[in-house]
Symmetry: C2
């Protein structure tokens, strides 16, 4: 069996980026000590989830890639000989920013980057203000541990993104994410939302016969504007196998490092019994490129 | 609230088509008595799941649409003033057959048909032998109770099919299906498969913000060829709401009629908080029309 040990760092974040980075690095070290070869951080792990408000000062949090933060993580990737997936607020040019995942190889080089393609915008998630939609397409990043189908947060709701990664040979799907409850929603609505989040991501594993790894933020963050009740990030980071089965899942309420093993030979087996790729009606899918079929 | 009562008929089938039809009609009457306005039968409910073997004699089971079976169901639709979704083995011409869902209006007329687009072929599910892939595309059928996104069984594994129906204005997705355990699989594998089946269909509700109704066959059917251990159809027909939440689910092991209420106004509400349609990257989806991105 071609097994791969992977690690997930689920953490709460504070206002001081360097403290968040230290916490991430600590998690990475713990996971490397458990022999994880691929370690994944949550979305925008260096900062609080600053998109709760639209504030031009927050662009100060962005940096070029590579830049000092990339270098810090690259040094650790090299030191520990692990592949790292980090999630940064990228400054590409003045007035041009992205929500970008950076994949660092075991030698500390950049294996590739992915710029978040689907950008949300909801009360408390004002991402369209901060992030230009990605222009690199849906392309797996080739690494020594496999072809990584890295997507980010809002992308997780789009079967199209998962499919395009799988069709391009992704060995697994990876979602750094930052999603939580609106404290003003009732308990039933909160549970439905979290269950939806879990279900849609598990479904991408099923539809494509590849593992899914999702790493989510945890902890409560107040809304600096006071306009909303803030967000209670729901943690629950998880690893699902090729049939969508949950292999491991983190708690909802606390920092946690999670080590799990995935079996990369399972894709071959599952796609033999469920050969969904064989039967796609590509002659009839043109309208997927339409906004609406009206 | 714009509520709609729907009914599902989950049944085991025997070798005698007219007995299966009588059982379906009994179920329909029970559900109409509970004020269901839309009643859905499982895949190929008139017969056993004859696709367990490849046998040319089985083409005798097919009939034209409309034909005597369509007429029997149409008469009941009219008598009870319900919309019916039935699933027939369609003889379109000599040597040309389809797996076809027929939607009957409350006045007994045919509102539309859907010919199964994705055709499986696995040991025990030799559908490519029997059914030509549908040529009518993914188009909701307009009825007095809403636009029905009718798909059939294997289609349920394809997010593309669900999306195309939703983009064309489907108010709900409907899957008549016939799926079960291979008795030779161990319990863990059986449970993973059933859970996958449930999860992928719930995910279509989530991705598209519309209810999903799935009606599955139940009971054990031996393989006439003796080549396999037969199939234990796993029942578990269900109705999910617009966030993929299970509203009602039938048992795994017995005939059952299930009456559930869906709220068609929920789509508007859910799509406001989760505006996935707004953010689809249609500029980047061209490769969904490729077999593989190699």
């Amino acid at each position: 069996m071609k097994k791969l040990k992977i690690g997930l760092v689920q953490q709460s974040c504070c206002e001081e980026p360097q403290l968040n980075i230290e916490k991430s690095l600590q998690g990475i070290r713990k996971l490397a000590a458990q022999d994880a070869e691929l370690i994944i951080l949550q979305e925008l792990h260096c900062t609080t989830y600053f998109c709760q408000t639209e504030n031009t000062d927050n662009f100060d949090l962005a940096e070029e890639i590579p830049g000092p933060v990339t270098q810090q993580f690259a040094a650790v990737a090299k030191e520990l000989a692990v592949v790292l997936v980090v999630s940064l607020f990228e400054r590409r040019a003045a007035g041009l920013y992205h929500n970008t995942a950076v994949v660092l190889e075991k030698d500390g080089t950049i294996a590739g980057i992915y710029r978040k393609m689907h950008i949300p915008d909801d009360p408390g998630y004002y991402e369209k203000f901060y992030f230009t939609p990605g222009d690199l397409g849906f392309k797996p990043i080739v690494t020594s541990v496999g072809n990584l189908g890295v997507l980010v947060c809002w992308d997780q709701w789009y079967p199209e993104a998962a499919r395009l990664m799988a069709l391009a040979g992704a060995d697994m799907l990876i979602y750094p994410t930052a999603i939580g409850y609106d404290p003003q929603d009732n308990d039933q609505e909160q549970q439905r939302q979290k269950e939806s989040w879990l279900t849609i991501q598990r479904s991408h594993a099923i539809a494509n016969g590849i593992p899914v790894i999702s790493v989510n933020r945890v902890g409560y963050e107040a809304d600096p504007s006071g306009n909303t009740a803030g967000t209670q990030f729901w943690g629950g980071s998880f690893v699902a196998g090729c049939q969508g089965e949950i292999l491991k899942q983190a708690e909802a309420e606390r920092d946690e490092v999670l080590c799990a093993e995935i079996n990369l030979e399972q894709t071959e087996k599952v796609r033999r019994i469920w050969p969904f790729f064989r039967d796609r009606r590509i002659d009839q899918y043109d309208d997927l490129g339409k906004r609406f079929r009206d």
